[in-house]
């Protein structure tokens, strides 16, 4: 996110008052993370685009009822995104999970010099696919969408500590899978948790 919480609150208030410019700024801030989160869970980019738009239309509808106290805006918005993806998966009888990432178009043949990059991407996709559903969601929300642990917890309907635990185990699993384990092994993995001062 490129703006601080206070600026975001102002934008939300103005958008609630009917200021379309403010809503446009909110879109500017959130469309990439929302798209990333959705794209990581659906099969086709076109579906991700449609669902991203649907999330923002839903946000526009629900914005007058949003109350800033208690729920961070990011958590509120991504909860809408999560529910939208779940509804989509249910309607289309699809599995809304990261297996889809393996089918992204970058798997197609490309220039020779991109081979190593592609290999790395495939390895990451494979490693993500090996996580549990909740671990994957924690990674998606924290890394792809850039949410704070609190916001991610809000989206997932869990305690913040639970999300941090899921993230901890997910990171450990990813590092193992990607051959990034430190010599000290599991003892060092505790440092993978975001520090207490982590603003997000």
């Amino acid at each position: 996110m490129n703006i601080d919480d206070e600026a975001l609150e102002r934008l939300v208030r103005e958008a609630q008052a009917g200021n379309s410019w403010a809503f446009g700024r909110i879109f500017d801030e959130f469309h990439v993370p929302v798209y990333r989160f959705i794209a990581s869970r659906v099969h086709r980019p076109s579906d991700a685009e449609d669902l991203t738009q649907l999330v923002f239309v839903k946000a526009l509808e629900a914005l007058p009822r949003y109350e800033q106290r208690g729920i961070p805006f990011g958590g509120w918005l991504f909860r809408l995104a999560r529910n939208t993806v779940i509804d989509h998966a249910r309607t289309r009888h699809e599995h809304a999970d990261l297996d889809a990432a393996l089918e992204q178009p970058s798997g197609a043949a490309g220039p020779e010099h991109l081979a190593s990059v592609r290999e790395e991407m495939n390895a990451v996709a494979q490693a993500l696919a090996g996580l549990t559903g909740e671990q994957r969601e924690a990674i998606e929300l924290r890394f792809f969408a850039g949410l704070s642990a609190r916001e991610a917890a809000e989206v997932m309907g869990k305690q913040e500590g639970t999300v941090r635990g899921l993230q901890f185990r997910a990171i450990a699993a990813l590092r193992r899978e990607l051959g990034m384990e430190l010599d000290a092994g599991e003892d060092r993995s505790a440092t993978l948790l975001p520090s207490a001062g982590d603003p997000r």
Partner: protein, 281 residues
């Protein structure tokens, strides 16, 4: 995430690279989406703004249509045309219908308001030329109402403000010319109309978009309408619109928008009244 752990940094880098490569949105599609959403937001805001008056608006249109249909059935078209000239018994009904038929689209409505004001000045000229005292008074009343409504509705949009100011500037020249060749009672009435126009121009100047001014720093947000001033509250009475009738006097009814709060506030603050609303005879 955690800057102290180089392993985490590397993992974060790989995840970010993965997201950038495989989960990146199409910028063109996102641009279009943004545009669509802002349009949607504008439409919703407009609908919400208008929702209070919409039902009343529809009812008034229906009443006006029924009333005019009854008049047309009862009398000939020529009779009706004469009755709807300024000062005629159906003049207010015609203005009422005109106003009821104004577009709900803000830009179109602003343009139609300008046409309405032009039409009132033309009617005033005709009445003055014919020496029709009732017509002059009725047209001036209608002119003042139309200017007030236009100013109240125009918001803080540069192009609209500029158009209205230009139109009022032309009208002031016409009114000034007319005031010099009409009888005394009409002259006074026209002078009040001139004052009202001057005040409207001043209000427009004061409302012109100013990026430095707080609250008006972006193009999509109109400035807040000033609140009513107590000292001028009684200057122009907000008038509820009565359904038109054949024997309605020029002062019996006003356009529906005249009862809207925003117009009331602006009227109260900005437009000075005629000392008396009674037509001069």
């Amino acid at each position: 995430m955690n800057d102290e752990d180089p392993g985490t940094e590397e993992l974060a880098r790989r995840l970010e690279a993965y997201a950038s490569a495989r989960l990146a949105p199409n910028r063109l599609a996102m641009g279009q989406m943004r545009s669509n959403l802002i349009d949607e937001a504008r439409i919703r805001t407009l609908e919400a703004t208008l929702s209070r008056g919409t039902r009343r608006h529809r009812v008034r249109r229906r009443i006006a249509a029924v009333a005019l249909a009854a008049v047309l059935t009862a009398g000939g078209a020529a009779t009706v045309a004469a009755a709807t000239t300024a000062g005629g018994p159906l003049y207010q009904a015609r203005i009422w219908l005109e106003t009821a038929a104004l577009s709900m689209d803000a830009d179109t409505r602003a343009l139609e308001r300008l046409h309405q004001i032009d039409a009132r000045v033309l009617e005033l000229e005709r009445a003055a030329t014919a020496g029709d005292q009732n017509g002059i008074t009725a047209a001036i009343d209608a002119y003042r109402d139309a200017v007030a409504a236009a100013v109240a509705e125009i918001g803080n949009y540069g192009d609209r403000l500029k158009s209205l100011k230009a139109a009022l500037g032309l009208h002031l020249v016409v009114l000034q010319t007319l005031s010099e060749r009409v009888p005394k009672p009409a002259m006074d009435a026209i002078k009040h109309a001139i004052e009202a126009s001057h005040r409207a121009v001043e209000r427009i100047d004061a409302s012109s978009p100013d990026p430095v001014k707080p609250g008006v720093g972006h193009p999509d947000k109109p400035a807040a309408t000033p609140k009513a001033s107590k000292s001028t509250e009684s200057s122009v009475e907000p008038r509820e619109i009565a359904p038109p009738s054949q024997d309605s006097s020029p002062d019996a009814s006003r356009p529906p928008e005249a009862s809207d709060q925003v117009l009331e506030d602006t009227l109260k603050e900005e437009l000075s009244p005629l000392p008396s609303r009674s037509p001069a005879h």
